[in-house]
């Protein structure tokens, strides 16, 4: 993994570490419930204390996502959201000053053109990509493009990853390595799998400088627990649910703010 100076995301994670805490990474899908509200939602979680924003590019076949994010993304697509809306949203959210990563399945990037997407993402102020269905073995074009445009590339590791694959993924990643806490898809879970801690340790031993944990983290207590051993805590479904279940966009933003504040307190060791 390359050094913090070339990666805005790594710099942010390191800044949190300097405060003696883990970073909070918050996921929201672009265009849900509509493009403007999604931008407001991202600003809301930044104000609440999220350190890095992860914007999901809505995709028709999200195989790594559970029911909550699937429902939100389906609604975004039904509302007519396009790839260029993701770039616009990145630009608006990057203006808050936090690193903005785009979480995207691979085909939309392929279709856009890998280098063209990297160029336009960088121009919009984006920090890089999280790629749930792209493993480093298949990522040649993206490795080249992300180097050319100075973007972070966050690959995933899972409890099933072998030591060799942990090392391969750690080497290929820039920003941080995304450790999937459990074998499964995104969703709200009542507990964070104990194997997450071991995966973080193994991934560090394999050479990763920064490891953030995602999948199923939903409460301030869980965030505090994961913050105890990881460099960052990634939350998604619980944020999306706040928007999904609210009767109006305004009520959704208010609820989202409260949920994000709770999680931000969690990573600061101040779980309610």
């Amino acid at each position: 993994m390359t050094t913090a100076t070339t990666s805005p995301t790594a710099a942010r994670v390191d800044a949190a570490r300097a405060e003696g805490r883990a970073a909070l990474v918050g996921y929201l899908p672009v265009g849900f419930p509509d493009v403007e509200t999604a931008v407001a939602a991202a600003r809301t979680i930044v104000e609440a204390g999220v350190d890095v924003v992860e914007l999901g590019l809505p995709y028709s076949d999200p195989v790594m996502d559970g029911p909550v994010i699937q429902a939100a993304v389906e609604r975004a697509l039904a509302g007519g959201v396009r790839v260029k809306d993701t770039l616009r949203t990145v630009e608006a959210v990057a203006a808050t000053g936090v690193p903005v990563l785009v979480m995207t399945y691979w085909n939309p990037v392929l279709r856009y053109g890998v280098d063209a997407f990297a160029r336009d993402l960088a121009a919009a102020g984006g920090a890089g990509l999280i790629t749930p269905d792209l493993i480093p073995d298949e990522a040649g074009e993206w490795l080249t493009a992300s180097d050319a445009h100075g973007l972070d590339r966050v690959f995933l590791v899972a409890p099933s990853s072998t030591t060799e694959r942990l090392a391969l993924t750690a080497r290929a990643s820039r920003g941080f390595v995304y450790a999937a806490s459990t074998m499964g898809v995104t969703g709200v879970r009542t507990s964070v799998d104990a194997q997450a801690r071991r995966l973080v340790e193994d991934t560090r031993r394999a050479g990763a400088e920064r490891v953030c944990v995602g999948l199923g983290v939903s409460t301030p207590e869980q965030a505090a627990e994961v913050a105890g051993y990881a460099d960052g805590v990634i939350v998604g479904s619980v944020l999306v649910r706040a928007l999904l279940e609210a009767p109006t966009p305004a009520a959704g933003l208010a609820r989202l703010g409260r949920v994000a504040e709770g999680l931000a307190a969690g990573v600061r060791g101040g779980a309610a």
């Binding site: 076949d61 790594m64 269905d133 990853s161 072998t162 999937a180």
Partner: protein
């Protein structure tokens, strides 16, 4: 056609993970260990005479192999008087070619020591075959099926449940095969420690395209020898329908390095120009879906476009990567067949030969009609081998609606 690769097409196709620019593994990291495990088990099995003997025994005593060849002269009169031979995969146990693949994968599941299998299904034929093998091998079985397809193919839902499988209707996205695959992949990511994914076609991440092809290759190996024996020569043309592409690759492979024309018939739905079709190679573009780089139906943003076909088994916006490669080399031609042309062929085979084909296979029959007539126009009488991939029992309700075969009170 570009000139054949040194050593021929069959050798160049190889064991994956890539077929030219196509194939690979575009899946979550969490699945890589399972795919590696499956690949290793398959590699071992592939070179193990005991595995081959066990599969051959099952095919002889359970599937009913070798499947026969039937010459269909009355049907052939409508094909420009071509000579038409059908490879009768419809006579296999469970009624289609899907069992060839499923028995191989079920044996592998046992070897890996997993106790649960999952599958996706469109027409229900792969689901029925998987449920059948699960009953035979005492495996727990869950089949994902788009809600839309559970309605179109209700008979097969009941068959799967009779066989002891759990059928899960999938209500996301377009509620068809593509969404059933998404849901099966989510299940697999979650339950991979106990579960093997018995994939139904030559699409998906490596090793599925190569492995499923190898299990289906028996169709072409048998048919090549049978046609040589019956006619004293190789066929001029081999025709097969292409959904994901397993029955087509299965019959094509034995002929890849022969001077034989190979034609894959895609589901043209209401016509490729209408946008309501499932002709992935004819009307799609390269991209990634369900774990492999291949052709797919997609919009300008790379979102998958819903496919349309009267045939649930062909109603899929993707296609196996080896077909994408064979198309790019020009070795295999791909053509669309409309719903209407397929249904006409469906009725014609039923009326002229007393064989009710699957609507999927009727696309290949419609291709034979077209190819035979083109040959006649050019002054030739071709021998056309058609892969009759399945039987039409499951499609009787659809046909009754299409042709208005039942009166109000009989519906």
């Amino acid at each position: 056609m570009t000139s054949p690769p040194p050593g021929g097409f069959a050798a160049a196709a190889g064991a994956g993970p890539y077929f030219g620019d196509f194939g690979g593994r575009f899946v979550p990291e969490a699945l890589i260990a399972a795919l590696d495990e499956l690949e290793a088990a398959y590699e071992k099995a592939r070179h193990d005479p005991e595995f081959a003997a066990e599969l051959a025994r099952l095919h002889r005593t359970y599937t009913g192999r070798p499947s026969i060849i039937t010459e269909v002269p009355r049907f052939a009169r409508h094909c420009g008087n071509a000579r038409v031979l059908l490879k009768r995969e419809d006579l296999n146990h469970t009624g289609s070619h899907k069992i060839n693949n499923v028995l191989g994968q079920a044996l592998l599941t046992k070897r890996i020591g997993k106790t649960r299998v999952i599958a996706e299904t469109g027409a229900g034929q792969h689901g029925v075959a998987t449920a059948t093998a699960a009953a035979l091998f005492d495996l727990e079985c869950v089949v994902y099926m788009g809600e839309e397809d559970t309605r179109r193919q209700a008979l097969n839902v009941a068959r799967m449940r009779l066989l002891g499988a759990e059928v899960v209707p999938v209500r996301t996205g377009s509620r068809t095969l593509k969404d059933a695959i998404n849901e099966a992949l989510r299940d697999w990511v979650t339950n991979v420690a106990t579960t093997n994914y018995v994939f139904g076609t030559v699409a998906g991440p490596h090793p599925f395209p190569a492995m499923v092809r190898d299990f289906q290759r028996i169709i072409g190996e048998e048919a090549r020898a049978q046609v040589l024996e019956i006619t004293g020569a190789l066929p001029d043309v081999v025709a097969a329908c292409v959904g994901g592409g397993s029955n087509a690759i299965g019959i094509f492979h034995a002929f890849l390095d022969d001077p034989v024309r190979l034609v894959g018939l895609e589901a043209g739905g209401e016509g490729v120009a209408t946008g309501r079709h499932a002709a992935t190679i004819t009307g799609g573009a390269p991209g990634v879906l369900h774990g492999a780089r291949s052709y797919l139906l997609q919009d300008a943003d790379g979102q998958t476009i819903e496919s349309h076909s009267i045939s649930a088994g062909l109603d899929y916006p993707g296609v196996g990567p080896e077909h994408a490669w064979l198309a790019s080399t020009g070795r295999v031609e791909y053509r669309p067949v409309t719903d209407a042309a397929a249904m006409e062929a469906f009725l014609l085979l039923s009326r002229t030969e007393g064989i009710i084909p699957a609507i999927e296979s009727a696309h290949a029959l419609a291709g034979a009609i077209e190819l035979g007539r083109e040959a006649a126009d050019a002054g030739r009488r071709d021998t056309i081998l058609v892969n009759l991939s399945g039987r039409g029992d499951k499609d009787v309700a659809t046909a009754a609606r299409w042709f208005g075969l039942l009166d109000e009170g009989e519906l």
